[in-house]
Structures are given as C-alpha cells and as structure tokens.
C-alpha cells in the first residue's frame, strides 16, 4: 500500500460548459486530518461531490488505495467506505440515538425481528469506545447540534468509514463543543480513519488539521503541512491577496444614548439584563451558544415577550410587542439563522430586499415596481452582491451572498439601531471582511450596532464595549481596551467549568 488512501489527479469538472474545477490535485494520507480550505465558490463542495460520487469528473483520475477507480454514484463511494457529514444533518429526528446509529442495518433476532437488546448494547459499546457521552434513548430531535454531529460521526465510524468528510462541522458549535468534537475526530483518526475537514474558522485548523489544501476560484493553490504555514499565509492563499486590516474598526466619538435596557427579564431565558447603547457605538455580546444573547435580541425586537424590565429608546420608554413596531421605531434585526428567519428563499433578491418596507414601495396596496427595482439595485450595489440579476431567486445564491441580501434588506430600512446576530457565521473570509468594513462605516455614520457573535476575535476586533452572558445572566462588561480573550472566556464559562469539575 502506498502513502495515500485517496488521490485525485488533474481533476476538472464543468457544468453546462462552464468549468468550475480546473486541473485540481488532492491527496489524502492514511490516518490524517486534511483540511480543505477556500472561499465560498472556490470549488470545495464540487470537489467533495466528486469524491462522494454525486458528480463525475470530466477529466482526471481518482485513485483509491493506489488503484484507479470511478464512483458512478454515491452508493459506490459509500461501499468503499467514504462517508460524508453535511451541514444539514441527516439524523431521523423521531428516532433515538441508538436507532439512528443502526439505521438500515438493525441487528436481527433469529425470528427476523429487531434485536433491541443487541442494538442498545452495541451502540453503547461504540459510544464508549469513542468516548462520547450521550443518552442512547434520547430522541435525535432533542440533541444539540454538537451531539447530533457526534452521533453521525459514530454512525460513520461504526460502518467502518475509511474516509470521513466533514463539511463545516463547527460553524454552529460552542467552544466546549468544538473541543469535544475535536477529541472525537482525533480519536477516529487514531483508529485509522482519514478525515477531510472543511471549515472557515482558520484558527481551529491549526488545532485539528495535519495538512491543508487550498482552492481558489476552482484552481488548486497548494497543499502544506499545517505546521509549515500561518494564518496570514492561508488567507493569502485563499484570497489571492493579503487582507491587511482584518478588523477595520474606526474610532467614533461617543454621543447620545439611543437605547437603554434596564432589568430586562424573560422567565426561562434571561434575567436582569441592563445596558446602554450609544449612537455610533458597536456593542458586542459574547458568550456560549445558548447563553441567552439571541433571546435578548428577540425581546428587544418584539419577537419574544418579556416578563419584566424596561426598554427606553432615546430616553422614551417603549413597549415593543411586534417586529413591525420595532421596525417603525427604527430597529433592525439580522437574525442568527438566515435561512430560517432571514430569507424568503423562494423569492428573488428584489422582493427579499424590499419586504420589510413595502410601505415605501406601494401605493393603495399596489407595488411600485420601478421604484422598487431601483432601490433593490442600489442596495445590491452597495452590498457588492454577486448575482446574475436582481431577479435571481435567493435560494440559488451562495451563503455569503444570501447574508448580504438579508443585511441589505435590513439596512434599507434605515435603522437607528441595528442588531446583528452572528452576521459572519459560515461565510467566507472575503465576504466577512466586507461585512466588517460595512459595520465600521455604519457606526461611523452614527448607527448604533449590537453585535452578537460566538467568534471571539470578531467580537474583540469590532466592538467598543463587550457584554458577556452566561446562562441568561450578564457576567461581565469590558471596554475595548480592557477586553481580552481570556477575560471573556472566563466570564462566559467560569461556572460551567466549575460544575463540570465536580
């Protein structure tokens, strides 16, 4: 056997005459974690789909264990032990963990019935051997995303997957969960499985990956051992130019308080939240996923009812009971989950952008299409949207561009207060930088911004002040100068850690 379990040589792939992968090479060693890196649209997904047999290359060869091979469909690749875990997890929500692990190959008794006892004992053994602690009888829908991923990995491992492809597994995990996930991934690597790992979070690649391959615009750029590269190096390879000032935060003189929240409480979600937000300020909210940050944002935007406390806008007390009212008061909220809460994906870019302010674009109930088109075009330009036309369905856009549509939609309402909930999750480095640039400019123009982010460097780099939440409570508040990664982490996790230590 050679050094490589899987090798792709000189691979090209075209769709209806347009080449999207140009002579790409990729090689995966036995028992390595290999990161695949590139901006959205660089060709990562296409490459993965060639490996899983979903698409077939137009040119080039695939070698498995040194032998040339072809995968004519996904079944072929599964049979030789290639498994993929996608961002959209594929567990059966109403079945429990053990049933999910053994789906389609439940152990049977002699009578041909499902051997439940064996199913549970084998599942337990499997999870124990991987060091995963999840209740086997728990229904998949009750698991956190991290736990669901672990179940998927366990399932892949149990069917003797030799190559495991993970597409952005960490994008919605908390720090602790990422640590657990990485432990598990290393564990299966040490058991001989090779892992292809796709992620936009550069920092974590240095923690988990052995080697990294970078693609750009469908071209192969380079493959390097992770130890021989650096963050700047990788960004340079991905973008093709150095991104000089990563967090373009401008100094803005502080002025009037536009939003003040006092003693805001929502039973079961958060308690006694108080803060002030000034014009031109970016206020960061840090904390683990589930710390209640999104709930606070929802409460301010009128989606979630509050039990007590008060909200004042520019000194005037308000009771916001619906998003519509919040919008009329000059608030805008970019929700965390852009697909579920932000985008109407069956509608085109134009209608998405103008949706929240149809008031301005209709007369007697009729839509003023010319005015609407012009506004949508201007906003698309401002957002530097990449699309065929402003009438393209948003479903067809890349994640980064979808985010730009949602952001553009909210900016077009000309808010005085903008709440951004995980604005750069799952979008590529280039788009991320332009979102940061935009935030900075908006703040300089006097907009007050609340930034909720699970990415510490982002919160640290963009915020004037940072509030840390933990399990529904405010556990820290730091100015830009005093905030450090350590301080925030401590405030965000202290108690949790203490409890886990018991």
């Amino acid at each position: 056997m050679g050094e490589f379990i899987l090798e792709l040589k000189d691979i090209s792939k075209s769709f209806s005459g347009v080449e999207v992968l140009h002579n790409v090479d990729f090689s995966l060693k036995y028992g390595e974690i290999h990161a695949l890196l590139g901006e959205n649209g660089a060709g990562k997904s296409t490459l993965v789909k060639l490996i899983t047999g979903f698409h077939q290359p137009n040119h080039g060869e695939i070698f498995l264990d040194g032998e040339p091979t072809t995968f004519s469909d996904t079944r072929d690749s599964r049979e030789v032990g290639i498994a993929a875990i996608y961002q959209e997890l594929s567990l059966f929500p109403d079945l429990d963990v053990a049933e999910n692990i053994f789906i389609g190959r439940q152990p049977l008794t002699k009578a041909g019935m499902v051997d439940w006892r064996k199913l549970y004992s084998e599942s337990q053994e499997l999870l124990d051997s991987l060091g995963v602690k999840i209740d086997l009888k728990q229904k998949a829908r009750n698991l956190s995303i991290a736990e669901q991923q672990m179940v998927e990995i366990a399932r892949a491992f149990s069917i003797h997957a030799r190559v495991l492809i993970m597409d952005e597994p960490t994008s919605s995990l908390t720090l602790n969960e990422v640590a657990d996930l990485f432990r598990l991934v290393r564990n299966i690597r040490n058991n001989g499985t090779s892992v292809i790992f796709i992620s936009h979070r550069l920092e974590e690649l240095f923690e988990i990956a052995d080697r990294v391959t970078v693609l750009r615009d469908g071209y192969y750029v380079d493959t390097k051992p992770i130890t021989e590269t650096s963050r700047e190096d990788l960004i340079h390879m991905m973008v093709g130019r150095p991104i000089s000032d990563q967090y373009p935060k401008l100094e803005v003189p502080k002025s009037d308080v536009v939003l003040s929240v006092e003693g805001l409480t929502c039973e079961g979600s958060f308690k006694e939240i108080s803060f002030e937000l000034r014009q031109g300020e970016i206020l960061g909210f840090a904390g683990l996923v589930g710390a209640g940050r999104t709930d606070v944002a929802n409460a301010i935007f009128g989606i979630k009812p509050i039990s007590s406390g008060s909200i004042k806008l520019a000194g005037t007390p308000v009771a916001i009971s619906s998003p519509k009212q919040a919008m009329n008061l000059g608030l805008a909220y970019l929700p965390e989950d852009r697909l579920q809460h932000g985008l109407v994906s069956d509608m085109n870019i134009t209608t998405n952008i103008t949706l929240p302010r149809m008031n301005d674009f209709s007369k007697f109930g009729w839509v003023l299409t010319t005015k609407e088109r012009k506004a949508a075009y201007d906003i698309s330009c401002q957002m530097e949207l990449k699309a065929n036309s402003i009438y393209q369905l948003t479903r067809e856009l890349s994640g980064g561009n979808q985010q730009k549509v949602v952001l553009g939609k909210w900016l077009s309402t000309n808010p005085r207060i903008l709440i951004l909930d995980e604005p750069t999750r799952g979008i590529d480095v280039g788009t991320k930088a332009s979102v940061h640039q935009l935030m900075s400019e908006l703040a300089a123009e006097g907009m007050a911004i609340i930034l909720i982010s699970s990415e510490l460097p982002e919160v640290l780099g963009m915020s004037d002040r940072i509030i840390v939440m933990r399990e529904g409570y405010m556990t820290g508040e730091f100015s830009r100068d005093e905030a450090t990664q350590e301080k925030i982490l401590t405030a965000a996790t202290e108690d949790v850690r203490a409890r886990m230590g018991q």
Binding site: Q340, V344, W366, C381, N388, A433
Partner: protein
C-alpha cells in the same frame, strides 16, 4: 472586496428575466406540450374536436373551475388547502336559490352580492378555525367540508331548486354574451387576470408568497402571517360564493349535491399548474393551463366515446402522465443547464 469582483448588473435592466426564470417556466411549456399532443391525437380521431362549438364548450366547462382554482391557488401558496370550497358552493348556491325562488324580482346584482357575502362569512369561519383555533388547514377545512354540506341538507330539507323556480335574469348571467363570448368565460378570464395582477403587483399578493415560503422570516420582516392566512381563506370563501351564483346560473338548479367533489378538481388544477403544496411557489398562468388540461382531457374522453365507467380512471391516468412527463422534462433541463 474590490470592484472587479462585483458581478451584478449584466441583466438588471429590469425587463429581463434570468435564464433560471426561463427554466422555471418550463413547467408551463411542458403542460402546453402535453395539451397540444392530446389535441392533435383527439383531432385525428375526431376532427369535430376543433369545432368552435366544442372549444367553447370546453371553456364553458372549465370556467367555474378556473375561478375556484384561483382561490385554491392563493390558499395553497400559504402552505394551506381549502377543501371546503365545494361545500361553500353547495351551501351558497342553495341559499341564493331559495332566496331567488321567494323573490324572483330581485335584480341579478343582488344575487351576486349575496353570494359574495355568504361566501365571505363561510370563508372567515375557516379562517378563524385555522388562525385563532390553530388547527391545520387540511383538518379545519375537512371539518367545514362536512359541516357546510350538512347545512345544505338542513337548510333545504333535502329539496332542491329547479330551473323553473329560478328567474330568467339569473340564467342569462352566464349565458349572455359579451362581444360573442359567453359571459361565464369572460368572468373566468377576468377573475384570472385580477388574481394574476393581485398576486404579482399588490403588497398583499406578495405577502401571500412570503408567508407561504417562509412564515418566520416574514414575521421578522413585520408581516403578520396569521392575518395573511386569515385573508386568503376569506378570499377563497368570497370567490367560491361567486362561483356558487355562476353555478346556479349555468346549471339552472341548486341541488343538495351541487359541486360535490369539486374541491379535488381545484386542487388538481393548481397542482398540475405547478403550485407547490409546500407553499410559496406557483403562478397563475400555470394554474390556467392546469385547468385547461383537465377540461381538454374530460372533453376528449367524451368525444372519443370512452365509456363513462372508464372516464374517471382514464382522467386520473392522463393527469399522472402529464405531471410525470413535465417533471422529467424540467429535471432534464435543469440538469443540463446547471
């Protein structure tokens, strides 16, 4: 990000549709193709198919279907379904029929307004159950399908209204002609055009699509999904009420089984026409073609003398063939152009 990477603008002049828009229209092209094939096949066998009388007949037969399919489309666009349309037609037809029997001197416009009002009441009852009662539309309207039909019997005590009991004026409503075209067809076209414009160019129409496609995002954008959903059921009731009056006019009677089973035809027309049952997707031209296909199928089966015993089965078969062909065509096109 630099400006060279900014690729928007090639086709933003506004009048242009992108290529993908074009592909999404292939559904309609597929149905047209199927209708043409059917027309050619039937004409070869029975040339009288193309007689103007026969074609008018087809249009007369699908006019009410088109009208109610418009209502059904709006409902399905919001992820819902209105199974009670047939019972609304039955009940409204009966009530209008009895009113006319007692007061034959009432002007036609009175019957129309009465139909619309009664339809609105029955539709809002659906709307209340679905929005305030939080009952899934299929269950709610399945319930009212029976309730309203039950009321037909209760109200009529099992009797019906015959042609001689109806004033002449109501019969003329559908049979009179405007520029040589029967009124019924004119009304159907008018309703279809209005629905098209309504869905495409009004705020409410757009909100219907938005709520159907993604209720949560719509709510975040300041739309109240429950309000929109309530409105579509009221609209559905109103349109069914209108259909009821036209029904009396065309068939010159109101019976206890008026429009029985008709709800499924409206759903079929909408679904063949490409309206997605998961909401948010569908267009009026497609639904018109769906209704036309149904009409052509029914007419040709009679014309080529397929036994009535077989007609329903043959109709069902043709519908399935039409939809499958259309799916295969569009799939193929999407694949080659993706």
């Amino acid at each position: 990000m630099t400006n060279q990477e900014f690729k928007l603008g090639s086709k933003t002049s506004g009048k242009g549709f992108s290529f993908l828009d074009f592909i999404s229209r292939f559904r309609e092209v597929g149905i047209i193709a199927f209708i043409l094939i059917l027309v050619i096949a039937v004409t070869l066998r029975e040339p009288s198919f193309l007689d103007i009388d026969n074609l008018t007949d087809i249009l007369m037969n699908i006019s009410i279907l088109i009208i109610v399919a418009m209502a059904q489309t709006m409902v399905i666009l919001t992820k819902g379904i209105d199974l009670s349309v047939s019972s609304i037609i039955g009940l409204v037809a009966m009530m209008v029929g009895f009113t006319l029997k007692a007061n034959p001197e009432f002007p036609v416009i009175f019957s129309v307004v009465l139909g619309l009002v009664l339809g609105a009441i029955l539709g809002s009852f659906n709307g209340f159950i679905i929005t305030i009662g939080n009952v899934p539309p299929i269950i709610a309207t399945l319930g009212t399908l029976s309730i309203y039909r039950g009321l037909v019997f209760f109200y009529s005590q099992g009797t019906w209204i015959n042609s001689y009991e109806l004033p002449h004026s109501i019969k003329v409503l559908s049979k009179g002609k405007l520029l040589g075209v029967p009124n019924l067809i004119v009304v159907a076209i008018l309703i279809a055009v209005l629905t098209f414009l309504f869905l495409r160019y009004t705020r409410l129409g757009r909100n219907i699509y938005a709520v159907g496609s993604n209720p949560t995002a719509s709510e975040y954008a300041g739309i109240r999904p429950q309000k929109i959903i309530f409105i579509v059921y009221v609209l559905s009731g109103i349109i069914s009420g209108l259909a009821a009056v036209l029904w009396i006019s065309r068939f010159e009677s109101a019976q206890t089984n008026t429009a029985l089973g008709f709800e499924l035809n409206t759903v079929t027309a909408a679904v063949i026409g490409g309206v997605s049952t998961s909401g948010g997707v569908g267009s009026i031209p497609g639904v018109l073609l769906g209704a036309l296909l149904l009409g052509v199928i029914q007419n040709s089966l009679t014309l080529i003398r397929i036994s009535p015993f077989w007609q329903l089965a043959a109709q069902g078969l043709l519908i399935i063939v039409a939809v499958v062909t259309d799916k295969l065509i569009s799939k193929r096109i999407v694949r080659t152009h993706k």
